[in-house]
Symmetry: D2
Subunit: 405 residues, 4 copies
Amino acid sequence: MTDQDYQLFEQRQRARGIDVERVKSRLKSLKIETPSWGFGDSGTRFKVFRNRYAARTPYERIEDAAEVHRLTGLCPSVAIHIPWDKTDSYDGLRSHAESLGVTIGAINPNLFQDDAYMLGSVTNADVTIRRKATEHLLECVDIARQTGSRDISLWFADGTNYPGQGDLRARKTWMRESLEEVYGALAPGMRMLIEYKFFEPAFYHTDLADWGMAYNLACKLGPQAQVLVDTGHHAPGTNVEHIVAYLLDECRLGGFHFNSRKYADDDLIVGAIDPYELFLIFYQIVHASEDACADVRSTVDNIAYMIDQSHNIEPKVEAMVRSVLNVQTQYAKALLVDHAEVRAAQERQDVLGAEEAVRKAFEFDVGPLLRVVREEQGLPVDPIAAFREGAYNGKIKKRASSFKG
Amino acid sequence: MTDQDYQLFEQRQRARGIDVERVKSRLKSLKIETPSWGFGDSGTRFKVFRNRYAARTPYERIEDAAEVHRLTGLCPSVAIHIPWDKTDSYDGLRSHAESLGVTIGAINPNLFQDDAYMLGSVTNADVTIRRKATEHLLECVDIARQTGSRDISLWFADGTNYPGQGDLRARKTWMRESLEEVYGALAPGMRMLIEYKFFEPAFYHTDLADWGMAYNLACKLGPQAQVLVDTGHHAPGTNVEHIVAYLLDECRLGGFHFNSRKYADDDLIVGAIDPYELFLIFYQIVHASEDACADVRSTVDNIAYMIDQSHNIEPKVEAMVRSVLNVQTQYAKALLVDHAEVRAAQERQDVLGAEEAVRKAFEFDVGPLLRVVREEQGLPVDPIAAFREGAYNGKIKKRASSFKG
Amino acid sequence: MTDQDYQLFEQRQRARGIDVERVKSRLKSLKIETPSWGFGDSGTRFKVFRNRYAARTPYERIEDAAEVHRLTGLCPSVAIHIPWDKTDSYDGLRSHAESLGVTIGAINPNLFQDDAYMLGSVTNADVTIRRKATEHLLECVDIARQTGSRDISLWFADGTNYPGQGDLRARKTWMRESLEEVYGALAPGMRMLIEYKFFEPAFYHTDLADWGMAYNLACKLGPQAQVLVDTGHHAPGTNVEHIVAYLLDECRLGGFHFNSRKYADDDLIVGAIDPYELFLIFYQIVHASEDACADVRSTVDNIAYMIDQSHNIEPKVEAMVRSVLNVQTQYAKALLVDHAEVRAAQERQDVLGAEEAVRKAFEFDVGPLLRVVREEQGLPVDPIAAFREGAYNGKIKKRASSFKG
Amino acid sequence: MTDQDYQLFEQRQRARGIDVERVKSRLKSLKIETPSWGFGDSGTRFKVFRNRYAARTPYERIEDAAEVHRLTGLCPSVAIHIPWDKTDSYDGLRSHAESLGVTIGAINPNLFQDDAYMLGSVTNADVTIRRKATEHLLECVDIARQTGSRDISLWFADGTNYPGQGDLRARKTWMRESLEEVYGALAPGMRMLIEYKFFEPAFYHTDLADWGMAYNLACKLGPQAQVLVDTGHHAPGTNVEHIVAYLLDECRLGGFHFNSRKYADDDLIVGAIDPYELFLIFYQIVHASEDACADVRSTVDNIAYMIDQSHNIEPKVEAMVRSVLNVQTQYAKALLVDHAEVRAAQERQDVLGAEEAVRKAFEFDVGPLLRVVREEQGLPVDPIAAFREGAYNGKIKKRASSFKG
């Protein structure tokens, strides 16, 4: 790729009426949060392959996240998971992060790995377990205060494996009661992001099974509650970008957990299996960003883009860089859609014209554009290569010395 | 089957603490609406096989529906579809029905077979088409007044086939605007039932794609708007009984369109592919019927049970009888669940005990019970045999004389 | 797009070691068969929207197909469907086609629209219906001789809607017996392409439900029998490119029916929903085209690429042009994969490196390349625009005069 | 339940022409193999909840399996998993089993938990890893000789997570080469059962993804290779009983891994989610057991029925008893189908009659029948209650003393 590539790209886009400087400016303000747990080991129920270079402590995980930000300029914050990232001093953790140029992002409670939660956490038939779960959520709100985090990100593994195992409606009530209490503890400006999931680890019913259940709950709780869309948490065939557009229209889309899937919640690198779907999600977001309604525009501005993947066989840091670059790539393409052209085709009922107006943006090669954006930001033009050759990679490899495979 | 069968059945259930007289009483008050269009020809996109005995006019369709009621005692009303059942005199149609012992049930508008609706009806980018669609809906409200119908049952084929084809959020707004107007025209006591569908005939996005979209719209419209669950309109793997329980808990479940599916919206005879799912739906309903909350109980009491199937290869009347018997069978089984036993197992966290308490009700043979219920109601004990041997079957066969295959 | 675009494209590819002249040469020899039925009206079970400009006769359909070839240079043959394209003189039809610069391609029997086939054709429990079906297949072999067609393309709608409806194993035997007879009638050089389908129009079981059943049958019949992969005929989540690679490895992939789907057999424009999947299919094909085994390479050379779509709301000719361009685009991208780079990454167990080596080819913009290929072939550089502005479009619009909507 | 229940049951069945003594005899010869790993802890990727009473050693697992057989009379053999059940002396393990009244059943190699297999075992690009995998398979053949086992049961986790990661066709070749060598090592009378799986733990492609790939491989290997159907390893909507019938017809169905699923490979108790599907599988088996072809009948006689479930939240022994009782229940119902009645309806093209002839068998309550069968075999009439109250349960609870939760 040369300067000429970019000049040609710019000419073509200008000829189409695209404001390339504005595109670059928007690309430069894209922020994608990485998850601390994405730098540690994970796996399937069959096997967790231990990566000899994986981060082992909250501090190392934040160092990895900072490296991803250093390489890409896209990832100024890192989500943490309690208790995986539990520490004696959240001030200390916060300072560590800030010294590396990143901040602590969303706080993610864990209500699925304590033995008590086998049959449910905030939905457990046993009131003492529900209490324990609520206390943990309240603790996480408290941690958010200490870390300066805006978002509490809630995913519940709660559900049942067999018909009859649980009282579906009672569990619904218990969850609402717990979250009402937690909602009441939020500081002004904090948000509660409510995630849903089609299935797994529960196999008969999941208490928050789809966007509708998360949305309804958020509405009952209040304006600080929003829906979190994990791209892999849907039934086969679900039109995810439709849900995104719908939630934006209701001003209830709080954020994303990005990852990729072919079958179930495969948790692969976002954009690796169906890149067009990721593009179409961003197309809806970019479209809503120019809505007449200020609340819709504000909702777009506050979307928390977060990676949530389970790298079973990939090197961790490199996989994370690949993930954020894939997100950036599809966002860049979505910024090239000419919305006036789409609207004109829609208005004249030209199905193929409207389809082409969207698809053509996907077909551009945004490589030259992203290269220039990186150059202008003083970032490595090839972040993966920079990582492979860089000092940090060497540093990680020293971790292996303490590894017992 | 003999009297002895029933006596033994009764003894066993009494020994379990089941109030058999109450079960019988509830079975006798079950009402399932049949659809007029279920007595005419239907098919797949590949072929409509013409049934030489299928009803050809609204009057004949109501006669068929009345025969199903005569045979089963379960079907005192028949839903109609406008314009398929359009007539010069709805008074006349109503009298015809009443003379045969049935009433006109839900009014079903049709917004998918006029050429104007190719790219949407109430969601069309063309305001004149949206107006036309709204007028049709208002006409249906008016027909409901004439026929004495309580429910307007809305299914929209609206959706798009390609990314970019339509503005998803504008279409959402247009639909709400149309339905607000229609809602305003409802008489007190009338209900608007809003159906959703995962896909088909639209293949990229459906404007009302899931229960959440129908529910949210109903909430915005007001208390006379309710959700209609078509059992075949879900993504693969969806837990339908969970949605049923959820909507009951929100007092927003207005009714069902019953049918059966293995793949998509196969529209097979309800209960023919996964009878346990149908049982579990009724288990949730029966459970909610004893809820502490009067609104939930009232919601249960007002559920409109309706058949909506497309019999492509089956003889029409017989298929309809089979369908309502299947519904009755699973409802009968659900009435045999001992809820105290389930609850006790749930409370002691006994997963297998709770599962068994539900499943065991399914495993009973309710044949002897249903036989006695029919006898006590003066109905044929074997409705299918009664139909096959009956005079009406002979009458239908005379229709063939005018048939050109 | 300018010459400069192409020059830069060429430079970049040369720098990667891609033989651009060879890529262009392979693109110029790509042949995609269009289906005569793709130019007529089609729809869903809910409605066939009549297109006032749709072709009405076999002759008009071939004229439309010839226009697609004139615009794209990609479609030198057209598949016909019997009896939809039945004619008194296949010689006449063949001459008509040849006079327009195209040939008659695959012969497609129809065993699903005769009333006799309601419960099966070659799998019907009634031997006289099985005979009738076999005779129709033999007639199609005879037509193939007259039209000079190489391929008989078999899709069976055969299946059942209910458990018990048919004897699954007897039906399997009956189908094999019928096809053995038809196979025996093939001329040397003719091929029987056997298509499979997951479901629809049968909703409980389909006699040829997956590639395994089609493949096993082809193996039993002999070397002239091959499997036909319709991209839309799979269960949700199925890895179609894996099946393609598998069948190529067994030298049993005879051809494709291309179309696109999000849910079931949606029959949308190929490449419109998940373009990456189409690219990955071609990646497997291009990879196999360089196999050490001559039989595998020969199988690749003989793949029949065919469009099979149901354009419900799109203008017919334009939709077909869009479809073949989408196929050409993804084939072009697949030709840019550097297989040595992929293999090297695979061998050093570099998961992300191998993934990137494939994906990067997809991310190139092949617009400049395809423009030059078209110029060099003397074709319109923008086939859609050429059609919209061209004389043929005007001619089609005269068809409307005889249209009764 | 009383004697009267059974007498009435017998009368009704006799009246239908069912040979009740034959049904009882067939029920008494049903054999279902339990898996040693079903008595140990298992879980999801999110959490393995440790069961304080779970068996900890191969010896304890066989004791649990023997208890299930003692309670049900259905489970005379137990499958083992290498290396989970690795022992210094297979003679010792065999003697232990035999002393408890059971035998060692299928040998299950493990090619997914060694770090070497992260990117494949017999399909790994690294020949030394392929060699290691093949050696393990040969070791398992050797163990089978020592334990007197007939079946080697092969499940491969092999697959890839990303496009390009592996060479799909090379991997196919490598797997065949490995299995050819293992096949050559089988003793006469031994069988190799080849299992397939739609997805998981691989998320882009699985080397043996469906029955067709397992079947084709078995055919290439020879008559001692057969297909193993795991009921949970299919795409959504797949008609499993069709595959069962198909494989029986080809004399290539070697056995089952039974479990239950709603979404993916949920591994729930067989028969708990869709009992009708399990019944329909047995309907196909019972139907094939009376086939005119001796090879088909012999295939039925040699089916290895095995449980393969992952009990995440259930008590282990009780869950296993529940599982085998569910299998017995559906088999009993399938034995009540009147095949002559089905055939007659099929022949007169009576869709609803044929459907009813199958379904009615499912609707019988076989509780009285199974009670009498158990009594006649000297078994506990309520195996679950017998376990809960029995001495073995008390013994298991002593295991807890050494448990550290």
